[in-house]
């Protein structure tokens, strides 16, 4: 007490200055850290807009001698492979995320109902898949040799990505905590059937968790290359991310698919280094551009997922 009373006016001022200096230091540290985190992304953006000659001469640089749109122009001139894989990824993402979201909610909702007697057994059935798995080999052999899913559209939607126990558990917790039993009861008394209650009452009340899980599912499909890697050989069915990983190893793959008759000439004139990086931008771009809009749900989802899941 004595001490705090003894502090004189100028002292308090210097304490505030010290506080401000501290804030400034923390901010500077974060700005530096963020720059380090963004550095690789900034590098490939700059390279993709660089002149091919300056890249070949000076390497991948933050300060190219000359800027150029040639890489993007080249991709747009021969857009077949890129457009096809964009189409594949957009279609699988929409169909997969929506179907998966519906299946997850349908499985999670009865597990939240106290009067659903089998809920503990079913919940364990779901939960056990999070603890143990048979590994890649039986999983792959079953899908590839027995279901015959290889080189089909389903291979990009169904294996592993459609529904995960983890998401079911997050959604069930949400239903238990936020949907009041009284609402369900009064709807039932009013004569609403279970399906109507689910679609017209439960889902509209659950938009936050639907957004979160829907976002995770969307990211999962958009970023997937693994299912293409093991199940797909037909270039027409390559997902966007998988096409990109192929192009990193062999950029000429981009032009191999072309209808263009003078392929040799095309390959010779291809600004390979910058086209490569432009493809990375094209693959990652949509997620990064949409990030500000879904960032809130992402942070929210990561937090519930970790603490309550």
């Amino acid at each position: 007490m004595d001490k705090s009373q003894a502090i004189s006016q100028p002292h308090r001022g210097s304490a505030r200055a010290k506080e401000r200096l501290y804030e400034l230091a923390v901010n500077l540290a974060f700005i530096l850290l963020c720059l380090v985190f963004l550095a690789p992304i900034i590098l490939i953006v700059i390279v993709s807009f660089s002149d091919e000659r300056s890249v070949v001469l000076n390497g991948y640089s933050y300060f190219p001698d000359k800027f150029s749109l040639e890489a993007y122009k080249f991709i747009l001139r021969e857009p077949d492979s890129m457009l096809k894989s964009y189409g594949v990824t957009i279609t699988t993402t929409i169909i997969g995320a929506l179907t998966g979201l519906l299946l997850t909610a349908l499985l999670a909702y009865p597990l939240s109902r106290r009067d659903f007697k089998a809920r503990n057994v079913v919940a364990f059935y779901v939960f056990f898949t999070m603890l143990f798995n048979g590994g890649l080999v039986p999983w792959y052999i079953f899908y590839a040799k027995y279901v015959g899913i290889g080189d089909t559209f389903f291979a990009l939607i169904v294996p592993n990505l459609l529904l995960t126990g983890f998401h079911v558990m997050i959604m069930r917790t949400f239903f238990v905590n936020t949907i009041p039993v009284s609402i369900l009861e009064s709807a039932e008394i009013d004569g609403a059937g279970e399906w109507r209650i689910f679609f017209q009452i439960v889902l509209p009340l659950s938009l936050p968790v639907l957004a979160t899980i829907g976002l995770f599912a969307t990211l999962g499909y958009w970023n997937d290359w693994f299912n293409s890697l093991i199940f797909i050989n037909k270039p027409d069915l390559f997902s966007l991310q998988y096409l990109m990983t192929k192009l990193l190893l062999n950029i000429q793959f981009l032009a191999m698919n072309t209808q263009n008759s003078n392929m040799m000439e095309l390959l010779a004139n291809m600004p390979k280094e910058t086209v490569r990086m432009a493809m990375a931008i094209i693959g990652a771009g949509p997620i990064v551009l949409a990030y500000p809009f879904f960032q809130r749900y992402l942070i929210q989802g990561l937090t519930i997922g970790a603490v309550k899941g």
Binding site: S4, Y22, E23, V26, N27, L33, C34, F37, P40, I41, L43, V55, N58, G59, Y60, Y62, L103, L106, L107, P110, A118, V126, T129, L131, F132, N133, G134, G135, L136, V137, P138, W139, I141, F142, K145, P159, L162, L163, L219, N223, I230, Q241, T245, L248, L249, R276, M277, A280, G283, A284, I287, V288, Y291, Q295, L298, I299, L302, T303, A306, V307
Partner: protein
């Protein structure tokens, strides 16, 4: 209002869970039954269950090969490094973010640090290549050359890769983990800090004596859960980032990449299945152990 029998009343709920149950049957339970492949001599010409039994042969071959030691060692050591470094780095970020008074800046920093989490390992492979490519990579052409140093063939020498992969992994996950730690820190009652300030405690003392002890349960749980997954490695990190380079295998091959290569590329189905089962069983045991320990510390946060 008509009264329905209990079974009939539950019918719609059963219909709701049915598709999900069937999906997990196909995607998870049937493959679980398939672990018997690890004990078979596999020839695709016959249905798997008709293949000859091999006893423990597949496991014996696996553990007699030099690969077994390398992949188990790599998986465990990488995960151990990830667990320790991620904890320190993410905790540091979370604590420092909490020091910021300006909410807008806090959000902005957090979003930027979380950005790598959104990128697929396909994209990450490009980012790393842009830095390390021997011919045009940023480090060789714009750092080593101007300094008059010899360019380094990064993709030829396995010795560099433990460091590279650890840095890449940290960069990709630190933001995500810091979100979780920050959520725990924000939940701390601000009265503790006020009391500490009254007593003249400086920032450092506040962090060490209030923040860290109060979020200790979250730290312990996150760490135990990671230990429970210590036999699993992120396939994308170890496959895409080194660009599937054979020469780098001594330091980049982990159980998951080994299983994949044995199954798809070399066709050693039996050994691949054996390695996979080895991983699943040890993984399962460790998850149970980790959960048991979490339960002892804090029942609320146990998985089950």
């Amino acid at each position: 209002m008509q009264i329905k029998s209990p079974t009939k009343r539950m019918l719609p709920l059963w219909l709701m869970v049915l598709p999900g149950i069937l999906y997990l049957l196909v995607n998870n339970y049937i493959p679980m039954i398939g672990v018997f492949i690890a004990f078979k001599k596999v020839h695709y010409s016959k249905p798997l269950w008709l293949n000859e039994w091999a006893g423990w042969d597949n496991f014996q071959f696996l553990f007699a090969s030099p690969d077994a030691y390398i992949i188990v060692r790599n998986t465990l050591l990488y995960n151990a490094a990830f667990i320790i470094l991620n904890l320190i780095f993410a905790l540091f970020i979370a604590v420092m973010l909490n020091e910021l008074k300006n909410k807008l800046m806090k959000k902005a920093y957090q979003s930027i640090l979380l950005l790598p989490f959104l990128l697929s390992f396909g994209v990450v492979g490009y980012l790393v290549f842009a830095f390390l490519s021997a011919e045009h990579g940023f480090i060789n052409t714009n750092i080593l050359q101007p300094l008059g140093m010899e360019p380094i063939e990064w993709y030829m020498n396995p010795d560099y890769w433990p460091y590279i992969l650890v840095v890449v992994q940290s960069w990709k996950t630190a933001g995500y983990l810091s979100v979780i730690y920050l959520a725990a820190i924000v939940g701390i009652n601000s009265e503790y800090y006020e009391a500490a300030r009254m007593d003249g405690a400086n920032k450092w003392t506040q962090i060490m004596k209030i923040t860290i002890p109060l979020i200790k349960p979250v730290i312990i749980i996150m760490t135990l859960l990671a230990i429970g997954r210590i036999f699993y490695a992120d396939f994308g990190l170890f496959y895409q980032v080194p660009m599937n380079t054979g020469r780098l295998l001594p330091t980049t091959n982990v159980i998951d990449t080994y299983v994949y290569r044995a199954l798809i590329q070399t066709g050693d189905v039996g050994m691949s299945a054996a390695a996979g089962l080895f991983q699943s069983v040890l993984g399962f045991t460790l998850v149970l152990l980790a959960n048991y320990t979490v339960r002892k510390i804090d029942k609320e946060n146990a998985l089950f």
